[in-house]
Amino acid sequence: MDHGLHLLLLSAAVLACGLCPPDALAQAPVGEGSETPQVVVPQIDRRDVKPPRIDAENFEVGAFVGTIAIEDFGSSMTYGARAAYHFTEDLFAEATFGTAKAGRTSYEDLSGSLELLTDSERQFTYYDLSVGWNVLPGEVFLGGRRAMPSSVYVSLGAGSTRFAGDDNFTLIAGAGLRLLVTDSIAAHLGVRDQMFESDLLGSKKLTQNLQFSVGLTAFF
């Protein structure tokens, strides 16, 4: 059976070789024979010219960590992931996903053992999609030898925050600094204000949840 397979493959190889352009036969021998002029059949080898394929590195993916001040619930650590797509050198779109654990309100602290929210309800999870604009692109210098392209950007977006067992429509306004440490890696420093309406503490009010974070992203 092995033998048969070998034979089959061998014959297939010979056939394939037979189908290949026979270089040796194409060129008629020049200078041989006296009466009829030798006609040389030119073997034009058309090369496949492909347009240059350079990968456009417009996608940016990374993570961030920071502090968020959840209105009425103290400050907590927050972390998450962000992805961005750069349309032009000025405009980009960004998606953020993050989470934090809210602390206790001062009411809960002062009144002793009263709990306004259960543990799972204190989980503060948010996602949003925003558009960003590189307002101040430039170059920054670190020490005497290092120059890094940078950009100060502002962003505006909308999303949702899950807190206290409810999904709240959130408006996000933010600003940040992007430092291109290398061609593919960027460091971020940013502030964001996540605004949503909440009626947790009786009356309906617009809560401002400010966040300051640092992050690292990669372009690919």
Binding site: A56, H86, T88, D167
Partner: protein
Amino acid sequence: MLLFAALAPVAATAAADAEQVVVQDPYLEFHTGPGRGYPIFYVVDRGEAVSLLRRRTDWIKVRSDRGREGWVHRSQLERTLTPQGEQVKLAGPAPESRLEHRWETGLVTGDFGGANIVSATGSYALTQSLHARLDVTHLLGSYSNGWMGTAGLLHAFMPQRRVSPFVSLGGGIVHISPKATIVQSGDRTDPAAYSGLGVRGYLTNRFLLQAEYRKFVVLTSRDDNEEIDEWTMGFTYFF
């Protein structure tokens, strides 16, 4: 395995580390960064070859023969040639290519019957005017939250103009979960149909701003169908 290697036809040109192009413009300007504000620090003459290294939006990082690296705008490189003499084609948006795009994706936000919404939209251009469209919406209201998925068709009038109106038609599924604290009714999932009217405008060649009004009819299991108005505004980007 060796036999198969022998069978392989004339191999495709092995991918070089970087593509080489020959400068055809009088000169090529190297910027220090991928942006129009960055200064020009080096210039390459016509006839010299440069290697293309990477690309960020409309800027391409190139390396000259002498090893200098810098960023060049795509438009300057379009007139260069490959070493074989063929004109280089670098994909990039041009006013003509507005109508060549097929895939579009974006984000809109607005109001759906009193609830705020965040919606991701995507569409595929079947013809110049007709698009097949898909939206996934997160409903965030005061009394209930929910999700909505809709699919439909969008027809743009005068798509070659900078600002063009459009109509849309389609249907989908709406899932509403009332907030337990305010109302005491269960979650409901109903099919819905919509018809809409809107306007799209090109901000840049690939970036569109869009405003739309859609009238939804939610086919509830109750006696009456619900009619809901949706107003949205957002942006889309085409690939």
